[in-house]
Symmetry: C2
DNA sequence: TAGATTGTTAATCGATTAACAATC
DNA sequence: TAGATTGTTAATCGATTAACAATC
């Protein structure tokens, strides 16, 4: 990864830049100054960020829009598709499956798995017993965990067995996993609480 | 708000501390050292954080667990209930309505509003025409926007008219709002992309 | 008292911002 | 050439970490 000389803070801003330069139909070139203005950021910061990841800026001109977009997509890994599966086909799991905003980020959710026969349709939702086989056949390492907290750990263990090494956990609980497995906890309630706090 | 002397970084860690001291049934007192160990954080950091918000630590003893919990809840505003409404009763909106993890954070989602007659049941989902009346009667200022991007801005405008001053926006688009209105964008795809990047 | 734990002051680190030289 | 924009070097700021004094 070219991550080496790119700071965490910078990496976090790249998606914003990419979104902006892809959104408005900007001209052939775009300057850091213009991006900064549009996103209400410091122009030096934008310039430094773009320089750290690309080094393709030209004085007096700026950046070739499509070239910069490609560069950002490549660094962020949006140019290659990563497949993921959902475990837990409840309301949230289904909502995520129906969401089609993932492909912009090079992500694709293949299907979901559950143990409840009533939600299994064998086209999009399969029995969790088939999880290991599916992940191995399709070389899948990312799993989205949308089951109740009460069963989260045991389902997590099943996912680990299936070869999942990165879990996006929506259950409000801490998961025990071996070293090398990445857990990213998604706490929607906390996000709303954060908004609430910001209004005070 | 006692926010004054509490840094942003500290504020962001408080929920973790609170969750931990409420989770395990810890004894009557708890030390910053123990919290740091449990959460894999620096012990000085935890001590400094707790000191910034409470000043109730006792050398050799630590913190009275329930006292610390109360303090954290009060600073984070979890001790008072804030009501919110959802606009857009699609899959995601319904999933959020059914999620019962909000109350831990002093949040309650009252009901949802939509313009699609087929999802209106007049008990949990009402017609969006009633949004303004409901928000005024119940003094609601937080709205959760779960509609498609194509109509997000126009629905946002309706919410502003209804007296909403803070919007949790799930639509992948930028909203134009007057000064004083807080927008918090929730980009689930970006979160998954972030996890994906972290595994590389 | 001795020891564990707190709170504070100083040092370090990382990120942002400011100043400026380089260049198309 | 002049001017806009880049990239770089130095200064500032905020947060983390280290060292240590205070205290139950």
């Amino acid at each position: 990864m070219a991550k080496s000389n790119v700071s965490k803070a910078t990496l976090g801003r790249l998606p914003m830049y990419l979104e902006y330069i892809k959104s408005a139909d900007i001209g052939k070139t775009i300057s850091a100054t213009a991006i900064a203005r549009a996103l209400s950021l410091g122009e030096v910061q934008v310039r430094k960020d773009l320089n750290a990841v690309s080094g393709i800026g030209k004085p007096r001109v700026g950046y070739t829009t499509h070239e910069l977009a490609e560069k950002l997509e490549s660094i962020l890994g949006y140019d290659k598709t990563t497949h993921a599966v959902i475990v837990g086909a409840g309301k949230l799991g289904k909502a995520l499956m129906g969401y089609n905003g993932f492909k912009t980020y090079g992500l694709e959710i293949d299907c979901a798995f559950d143990s409840d026969e009533s939600v299994i349709d064998n086209s999009q939702v399969f029995h969790v017993d088939n999880l290991g086989k599916y992940c191995k056949e399709h070389d899948i390492h990312i799993g989205i965990l949308t089951v109740p907290s009460s069963v989260a750990q045991s389902v997590c263990d099943i996912m680990l067995d299936a070869g999942i090494t990165a879990i996006w956990n929506f259950a409000p609980c801490r998961l025990k996993v071996p070293d090398g497995v990445v857990i990213q906890k998604e706490n929607l309630a906390l996000s709303l609480a954060h908004l609430n706090l910001n209004t005070k």
